[in-house]
Symmetry: C3
Subunit: 426 residues, 3 copies
């Protein structure tokens, strides 16, 4: 009965064509060429490394894609239990007709070859989009991305701003900014103007969000020109900043971004909580972790100062999710956004999804984004979320609250798709 | 089978007449006059505001109750998913024969009028108490409340002490204290004496608890007279205190309260974790949030210093609940108390309830309080808790541990009612 | 159906003979003599005290074991709901043929006498090991334990190092170290040499781990000889250290232990988060609590510095479990280890177990240890864990992921036993 109910709801959610509101897709190479593009995803390399495969073997220069996959497959048995490996198996089954329940040293070569043949078909990218039910895919573009050479109505630009806020002390960042804006940054006004130009460029090219990932120690705050002036002069003169000065510079640039989000009516995606390079000997993109001792109270000044800016917030630690639910329940401009990274596993998604659906206005929830680097990942990741969402809707709404199936399905569709349209104006 | 079991247990829990050990009821106007009294509850105004309704429209001076409800109803669709709106629908169904599954722009006026007619019946308050199965209702009285004009055996006084501890730097607080006690506060001794008089007054009038809500940064500590003397002199002379001085003054007054709880044998309800006015542009009572980085270790000195005072503790963040369970498991004087505010939603209640029932002596758990401002809320809020409790008793005790139904029901009754009697001596 | 599935899996898990990788067993008196050895376990004394039994009655000098049990039984009714009391009942049923569902003032004496008779049988210890399915039991030995007089292949030594790290300022600790190693500690080199001798002694006697429990405030760090030299000189001269100096001394000794774990290839069990003597008036071993504001980021330097040392990590607070899962997912040398103390109750175990099985390589998880003081506890504690594990395997793997029963059972066996063998090399 209950399992029939879950299936009915899930079938309706499965039929929905989606907009994926946060990915790391390269629009010039959105789909994979070989299985190495999929298994090179940091989830597999970092888990294989965690299970004992030396980084040197995974990242050995010059090895072929097939050799790389072969090495990773050796460790897949140890990772068999992880939900990440279940995505790999589901992708293989759905896209490549893979019949087994696990990718092993016995069967991987055939899979590799089948996949390579499929991926070589000229319309592979379109096939993946169609089979995955993807209508639009948000990108995460470097601030100096020219945004040319791809269809911005399919691959929606998004201004990624980590470098501007947290790496502005690096000369390369400043040079990239000056080059991208054909300007010279010499003082607060010219810095602000250069950042404004980025917003002009991005919104002219269809950008629908500004985004940043933030360490747990950061607290946004307004910084006056007179306060930033000597710090900026120092950094432009090539002097090393003290940690306090660097933090103020980060705050200045961050606040400037929020100001332009306001002016250009762009939502500002905040991805809160990551510590970078905690394990510097780890594989590429497999070095970051977090400190769950972070609070949204650090964003109080920001949320109050920009009532017209929508902040879709992602948190890394489950313990932060309750704060997120509560802040979205109180602040009109705070929206819950997906299930990010270390929280993107079924037991955490389930509880986070249940709490959000219980207490945050239904119009203020972006259910899920894939965070993918290659298009093939949307299918299994959204499938995982849809299964959890269907279960939550069945249990918490139809069974516990006596809702009709139709009403629960409508809530699910709003969560998966409708809110993406309204919140990001796509 | 299992659902039959849940129903059997729930039916037994539903039959229980309750004492509600924490509310904000005004005993001179306990029940509602119109639906505006119900929908004016901060849960609805803050959620409607969060979903986009401007505060100015919600709180416009001079609008009629009906106009106010009409404006809020416009936004109810966006909040349909929240458990708070489910309380509204359940209240409407149970008290006013409402037949629909949602309050909408189509049906709200009829509901408003039906409710107004019912609420105008002279015994409406008694009807609500009876239908809700409420025998006694704890209040939260200002420290200068005369406590006259109502039946203190039905509406049990409780001394609310936030102002004394956290707003004693305001002249109005000190004036209210002096007026209420016909005394002059000039030094630590006279301050202590004045506070003592409040306890005398409250306990003579049947008070059964002292209560306070506390920000996450506060740590109770004993303060000597010699330490507080110059600070008190400063504040009485109208000088502004430094943050450190203000904190010491808060600690002194808090410790004084605990001393009198000991002397007068009053439980001291601690409601730990709220940050006030995080969103100052929010609606009335919809501005407070929290920082989940708080620990009961901050209460170590207090719990050790007053072994004879019972501390029923409520926490705001789910992450604090495990600490609460552990501290109640170790400290004889720490008792778990209800599911407070942002934790008062089914997914959090369920886990918190399960952990408490697994590890805290069953006699040291106050299952639930309504925290209501108007009497009509007890029914749906306790109903929500009873449903969750019945499920937990069925799954964790009858099914997983092989308990008989009777034994599980007895545990539920102790949790819902028996412990309130013994812990608060009512 | 689903309940049949759970039973099938559980039956397979139940048939497994186990190695218990962390206990506090005294190998010279591993099993109990009377029920007082079982009910004297701090769980029962602290819970009875929490429910109102004065410490003086529980710990009155000179009372007989039977008198002690009689006093504790008076309070068992109040603790009936706790999982700890369910262990007592299960032990009584399985070992002593107890037929009732609760130990009461009516039936305890008969149980006491039956138990005493059973425990007096000469092979009682062997009976318990056999009935509990225990093949090996890890100990927690003081650093100056001679490790003689018992079978170290059954009772596997483990070097407990709390005293060396956190109580080295006490003269008794230093005297014990000097005596155990027949050496004089006069400077960093001789201190290091003495600690090295302990590793030599322990590994020669079959030790398979080094272990320590750590307060939430501690952060391991490398300390140079020149930095520690004056501090060590101070402490050896009997001068009191400042808190900062004491912390550096703790760091020096901790780091030295990690260095020797590396050299001697011993896993270093980290049990993170306990505050000692939070409630000093509590019963023996019932005084410790915690502050959940702790992060594994504090261990970043350690995990990076010792890539060849395996760190089986236990955390006290559930909120730390997600960090543990994430750190074990990234760091090859971090392993999840059991469900410790205040997290060792079914609702926490269930969520922690689900998250670990979803995201940590299956080879890097030590499912459970009993933490027992007396052998009889392994049976009900592991039974509790096996029931939860069977349910998680059934729901999350067989039902949600479509795994075969065999595959789920294999994962369970690896979690319960296989990984203990490989990780601790037994």
């Amino acid at each position: 009965m209950s399992s029939q109910l879950v299936q009915t709801i899930q079938a309706e959610l499965d039929s929905l064509v989606l907009i994926d509101p946060h990915t790391h897709i390269n629009p010039h190479a959105a789909a994979s060429d070989t299985l190495a593009d999929i298994m090179g995803y940091h989830y597999y390399t970092e888990l294989a490394h965690s299970a004992g495969l030396p980084r040197e073997q995974i990242e050995e220069p010059g090895i072929s894609p097939k050799e790389k996959v072969g090495r990773l497959v050796e460790k897949l048995g140890d990772l068999d239990n992880t939900v990440q490996v279940s995505w790999l198996v589901e992708m293989s089954q759905k896209f490549f007709g893979f019949q087994d329940v696990a990718v092993t040293t016995e069967n991987w070569e055939a899979l590799y070859d089948t996949a390579a043949a499929k991926m070589a078909e000229p319309d592979w990218e379109q096939q993946v989009l169609k089979q995955s039910g993807l209508e639009k895919v948000f990108l995460t573009n470097d601030f100096d991305d020219p945004l040319t050479g791809f269809d911005t109505s399919l691959y929606v630009p998004c201004l990624r701003t980590d470098d501007l806020v947290f790496h502005f002390t690096k000369a390369t960042t400043r040079e990239r900014l000056e080059k991208a804006t054909s300007s010279t940054v010499s003082d607060p006004a010219s810095l602000r103007a250069a950042i404004g130009q980025l917003f002009e460029h991005f919104t002219k090219n269809g950008a629908k969000a500004c985004a940043i990932s933030i360490p747990p120690t950061f607290s946004p705050a307004a910084v006056s020109d007179s306060e930033i002036e000597p710090i900026l002069a120092s950094v432009l003169a090539g002097r090393e900043l003290t940690p306090d000065e660097a933090a103020i510079l980060s705050q200045f640039n961050f606040w400037t971004l929020a100001t332009f989000c306001d002016e250009y009516k762009l939502p500002f995606d905040l991805m809160i909580g990551v510590n970078r390079a905690v394990y510097p000997a780890g594989v590429f993109q497999g070095q970051d972790l977090y400190d769950s001792r972070v609070s949204l109270i650090q964003y109080q000044e920001l949320f109050n100062a920009f009532p017209q800016v929508t902040f879709p917030v992602s948190v890394l630690a489950q313990t932060s999710n309750q704060e997120l639910v509560s802040y979205a329940w109180i602040f009109p401009n705070v929206v819950t956004n997906g299930h990010w990274w270390y929280s993107n596993i079924p037991p955490h998604i389930e509880l986070d999804c249940r709490t959000r659906l219980s207490a945050v206005p239904q119009t203020k929830q972006v259910g899920y984004y894939s965070d993918m680097y290659k298009l093939e990942f949307a299918l299994p990741k959204f499938a995982m979320y849809r299964r959890i969402l269907a279960k939550v809707l069945a249990n918490d709404f139809v069974i516990d609250r006596g809702w009709s199936e139709e009403r629960a399905i409508a809530l699910g569709k709003l969560n998966l798709r409708g809110n993406v349209e309204t919140i990001f104006d796509v």
